[in-house]
């Protein structure tokens, strides 16, 4: 009896270990840039745009992968984002965004969702690397230094100002669709 219990525990442990290993591999694989750009419409649009930005190629050689900017760290936030992202795979499968043209047609809608997620989590993905506390304002351009200090004062988050820095600036389309009449109120 004792040996049966021992073998059961051993088997359970082994299965858990294999499960954890497989889980980690799946998470890692689905977080890789290769996975993200395995769809043609991703590779030919957002990835091409990203390669022209300073986030992709820069003096320090630090280049975040897709998931560094689009998947927050931590088990629960990662899993939540994966579940949400599964919707994109679903829409790819049913053909809503399976060509670059269809992808473009839906781009602003998808971008708005990403911006909202980033606003809701205080731009957690950006803050994996960037932190107000470690910014040397003396080494920034005057406008950047001022705006960052204003952002700290006003509790702004990265994405409020930094939309369109890694992909096409579709937030300009967002501005076109609004009349802005509600944004003309002065606060001074």
């Amino acid at each position: 009896m004792k040996s049966f219990i021992a073998i059961s525990f051993l088997a359970l442990g082994l299965i858990s270990l294999i499960g954890a290993f497989a889980f980690e591999k799946v998470i890692a694989y689905t977080s890789s840039t290769e996975f993200c750009i395995s769809c043609h419409e991703m590779e030919s649009t957002v990835y091409q745009e990203y390669q022209k930005t300073t986030h992709f190629k820069n003096a320090s050689g630090i280049s975040p992968s897709c998931s560094d900017c689009h998947v927050p760290r931590g088990l629960f936030p990662t899993l939540t984002r994966k579940i949400i992202a599964a919707k994109d795979v679903y829409h790819w499968v049913i053909g809503s965004i399976n060509t670059p043209e269809k992808f473009e047609a839906q781009r602003l809608k998808m971008a708005k969702r990403v911006w909202q997620q980033m606003e809701d989590n205080d731009s957690a993905e950006c803050r994996n690397c960037h932190d107000f506390k470690h910014m040397n304002f003396d080494k920034q351009r005057k406008r950047a230094a001022k705006q960052h200090q204003n952002a700290i004062r006003d509790g702004e988050t990265c994405i409020n100002c930094h939309k369109g820095i890694a992909h096409k600036a579709v937030h300009k389309d967002l501005e076109e669709e609004s009349s802005f009449d509600d944004e003309l109120e002065l606060e001074f």
């Binding site: 005057k142 802005f180 944004e183 002065l186």
Partner: protein, 312 residues
């Protein structure tokens, strides 16, 4: 005697006063402020409040210089090329021009010296005035002026701006307070009532401008007025200005009596902070095709303004 009376009369009607003509300022003792004027294209007040990337900061009252100091030449280059905010670029036009500004005052007058290297660029434009240099003065009574300078009265529906429609009547600069409502497309033609405009005029809630214009034959002509619900031109010019050019450097010296206080005139007092705007039209252009400098705080004496006139 009759001849003297005629000369005196001519001087009076042209608004040229003897003390203002005979400026005895020793400009060599006054430090120049270097200012870059740049091509603004169709960047209107409404654009600043909405599409400008730091629109939120503008709505909170952040002045342009807070972020954009020393960026003027880069911005001018982008805009004049037509990459942004300019649907009809003038090929080859420089994006900016550097000027030097010196200011001084005495008991009677305030003095402004503007110097710049005249551009050799010619687009083939023709028009009445080859060059126009304009100074515009106001204070926080026009609340957008200390924030945005000249941009505060440059609206999206002004002539040749983005929201100006074919068939609209000519609109120049105007203050937001002169309109019933400011929309994304500007304030249109719906003015506040006449009593309110009259009150604004009495309370000095307008901007005063002085413009020195030089025609193709190098003859000067002055224009004096104020901006309220439109650009008003005063019947009598109550400032003086002279223009000289030496080795390609143009020098225009403005002077105005400090205690002028009629309709459209802002008294120039010590211990009061104003905002000074500067614009330059070259190559016979008009309207938005000029160079403009960010609004700078200005005072006669004191030490809390970007530009401080030195007492003589």
């Amino acid at each position: 005697m009759k001849t003297f009376a005629k000369i005196f009369y001519l001087l009076v009607i042209t608004g040229i006063s003897l003390p203002a003509m005979t400026s005895e300022i020793n400009w060599d003792n006054i430090k120049a402020e270097s200012i870059t004027l740049f091509y603004p294209g169709q960047s209107s007040w409404e654009w600043l409040l909405t599409k400008h990337s730091a629109a939120k900061s503008v709505r909170k009252g952040a002045p342009c210089l807070e972020c954009h100091e020393d960026e003027e030449a880069d911005m001018g280059k982008i805009i004049v090329s037509g990459k942004k905010l300019e649907p009809s670029p003038i090929k080859g036009k420089p994006g900016s021009v550097k000027i030097k500004l010196k200011t001084a005052y005495d008991k009677e007058n305030a003095y402004f010296q503007v110097q710049w290297k005249e551009s050799q660029f010619s687009s083939g434009n023709t028009g009445k005035y080859k060059t126009k240099v304009t100074l515009m003065l106001g204070d926080k009574s026009v609340k957008e002026y200390p924030v945005a300078g000249c941009w505060g009265v440059c609206h999206d529906d002004a002539s040749n701006m983005k929201s100006f429609k074919k068939g609209d009547k000519k609109r120049q600069l105007y203050t937001s307070a002169s309109r019933v409502k400011i929309k994304r497309t500007g304030g249109g033609d719906a003015l506040v009532d006449e009593d309110a405009l009259e009150e604004m005029l009495e309370e000095k809630r307008f901007l005063e401008y002085w413009q020195h214009r030089i025609d193709a034959k190098s003859k000067s002509n002055l224009s004096h007025g104020y901006i309220l619900e439109k650009r008003h031109k005063l019947k009598q010019t109550k400032f003086n200005s002279t223009s000289t050019v030496k080795n390609g450097i143009r020098t225009v010296i403005f002077s105005r009596k400090r205690n002028k206080n009629g309709p459209g005139l802002i008294p120039l007092e010590e211990d009061h902070q104003y905002t000074l705007g500067i614009a330059l039209h070259e190559d016979f252009v008009s309207g938005r095709q000029h160079y403009v400098g960010f609004g700078r705080s200005f005072s006669l004496g004191g030490n809390d303004s970007v530009i401080t006139a030195i007492k003589q």
